[in-house]
């Protein structure tokens, strides 16, 4: 068990302060977007985007450009292409996403094997390096969180109606294609920005787990969205603190805490349903 002084020492480190703030913002953003992505059956989409991001990073490394700069445009273009592919091919979306993400992962690994002196380390790409987050990263994530909050608040009715029935939403003048594209682009940017902290393998956990836990705990839509975001942020904070105190990798620590939170939500949900009204 870590001593309190160890906790204070960890918290006093500037990189740890940035990591905690980054975790809080990234986790909240993942939970917020995840609450809609899960309902609209886009959770596998975020997973595919995460895995495909490795290809974007590889392209950046091969071209000698900072991978972070390549990642956002790559993720957006890639997301739009996948969307087109799903719409035009009329094959099941999960099968198509599987093809896309395994192929891009294969290309990415081949591309990375061509680079002998990549200094970033494959471990950091796969599992993230939240301790390496700078103030600029924090500012980008914060702006994105505010933007996502504004868009989702203003389009809440459209998002819910689109989940229930496209034509019902369309009768209200909701432009289904526009909102679908806007949400996919937002999800792609969030995935791209969060990759540095979370890694390509674990990014979908940030989107899916808090949202599913929030869904088990809520019976009201605003509470569901708020609890998903709060669980995402809270679990990230706890996971990072645990990582700082135990010297274990940060991304996996956060996901283990998220998973524990999900199990607790499952248990709480079961108990609440069994309790007499």
């Amino acid at each position: 068990m870590a001593e309190p002084t160890a906790l204070v020492a960890v918290l006093a480190q500037p990189f740890m302060q940035r990591a905690l703030l980054g975790g809080l913002l990234t986790g909240s953003l993942g939970g917020l977007l995840g609450s809609f992505a899960v309902l609209r059956q886009l959770s596998f989409f975020s997973d595919a985007l995460g895995h495909s991001a490795l290809l974007g990073i590889s392209i950046g490394i091969l071209l000698g450009i900072n991978p972070t700069l390549v990642l956002i445009p790559f993720a957006v273009i890639f997301a739009l292409l996948i969307n087109q592919l799903v719409e035009r091919s009329r094959l099941p979306a999960d099968a198509l996403l599987n093809i896309v993400y395994s192929s891009s992962l294969a290309f990415a690994v081949v591309a990375l094997s061509l680079v002998e002196t990549y200094r970033g380390g494959i471990q950091q790409l796969l599992f993230g390096d939240i301790l390496g987050i700078g103030w600029l990263d924090l500012a980008v994530i914060a702006v994105l969180l505010v933007g996502a909050l504004g868009y989702l608040a203003l389009s809440l009715r459209a998002q819910v109606l689109l989940t229930l029935n496209n034509d019902l939403a369309g009768a209200f003048g909701v432009r289904a294609n526009w909102h679908r594209l806007a949400f996919i682009v937002l999800l792609a940017v969030v995935v791209a920005v969060s990759i540095k902290a979370v890694g390509v393998l674990l990014i979908s956990a940030f989107v899916v787990i808090p949202a599913c836990a929030g869904r088990l705990l809520s019976r009201r839509f605003p509470i569901y969205v708020a609890s998903s975001a709060a669980l995402g942020g809270g679990c990230a904070l706890l996971g990072l603190l645990g990582s700082g105190l135990t010297n274990l990798p940060s991304g996996p620590c956060v996901v283990i805490v998220q998973f524990s939170g999900f199990l607790l939500a499952l248990l709480f949900g079961q108990l609440r349903r069994q309790a007499p009204a």
């Binding site: 229930l164 209200f172 003048g173 009201r220 839509f221």
Partner: protein
């Protein structure tokens, strides 16, 4: 007779490369109840979607309350807010954390972006009233995903009645209901239509109900095959013409009717 609430002129719609609706024209007078009937694949849902502006038109015009539907299906918000649509089903994810009252409240605000907490007390009152008028007064706190088929259809009507509207489009709204629930739904629709002054266009396969409840029938099979009062449009000869020779008229236990053979 005043201006029709909905006017469709020479409308043709292509869907998935096939001409699904071909040169259809009709008009719905104010406060009328019109049924759109025809066999599966006749283009009924396509026609409704085109009227809502959800599908591009190949040719023809659609006007709602005197305003023409734009090329991309756009209508002024003031007109769009006068239209309600009842789909056949909702895709309800299990444990969707959305209460009945929250869902009905979405129907209260006019179209366009809006913060979810705007509307406040006025909206809550309108939702309560709509739920009571549709016999759903005790369902407000229930999850939408927990409702039975009949309850869900009544909640969809509450969604329509939560604000004043002029035109109601129903796409096989009674599908999946048993005979009793279907009859109750139709009675409630009839009552609300009279109270609200709705003009109704409903896609239906229930010819018995159409004969009893509707003022006008449009028989569609890609083109408009016939139209008029139910007794005229649903005569045995016309039904055979519309549905094919397997259409066998039969006598219902309480009224004359016809059904698919």
């Amino acid at each position: 007779m005043g201006q029709p609430v909905l006017r469709v002129e020479a409308l043709s719609v292509q869907r998935d490369g096939v001409l699904a609706v071909d040169g259809v024209s009709f008009a719905l007078p104010a406060e009328s109840d019109t049924a759109l009937v025809g066999p599966n694949g006749a283009g009924k849902s396509t026609l409704v979607a085109a009227v809502l502006g959800l599908l591009p038109r190949r040719s023809g015009e659609v006007s709602v309350l005197g305003r023409r539907l734009g090329e991309a299906g756009q209508l002024p918000r003031s007109v769009r807010s006068q239209i309600a649509y009842l789909p056949q089903t909702l895709a309800l994810p299990s444990r969707l954390p959305l209460s009945v009252a929250e869902f009905v409240a979405f129907g209260f605000d006019p179209p366009g972006p809006r913060l979810p907490w705007s509307g406040g007390r006025r909206r809550r009152q309108a939702v309560r009233r709509a739920l009571q008028r549709t016999g759903c007064g005790d369902l407000g706190e229930r999850l939408l995903s927990e409702l039975s088929g009949g309850q869900l259809k009544r909640v969809l009507l509450a969604f329509c009645v939560v604000r004043p509207r002029r035109l109601l489009l129903l796409d096989e709204a009674q599908a999946g209901l048993d005979a009793t629930a279907s009859e109750q739904f139709q009675q409630l629709l009839l009552e609300l239509r009279r109270q609200e002054g709705w003009t109704v266009l409903q896609v239906s396969h229930d010819l018995e109900m159409v004969r009893r409840c509707c003022d006008q029938v449009l028989c569609l099979n890609r083109r408009l095959r016939c139209s008029g009062m139910p007794d005229h449009a649903l005569s045995p000869a016309r039904l055979v013409e519309l549905y094919g020779p397997n259409m066998v008229p039969y006598r219902h236990h309480h009224s004359p009717s016809a059904s698919h053979g």
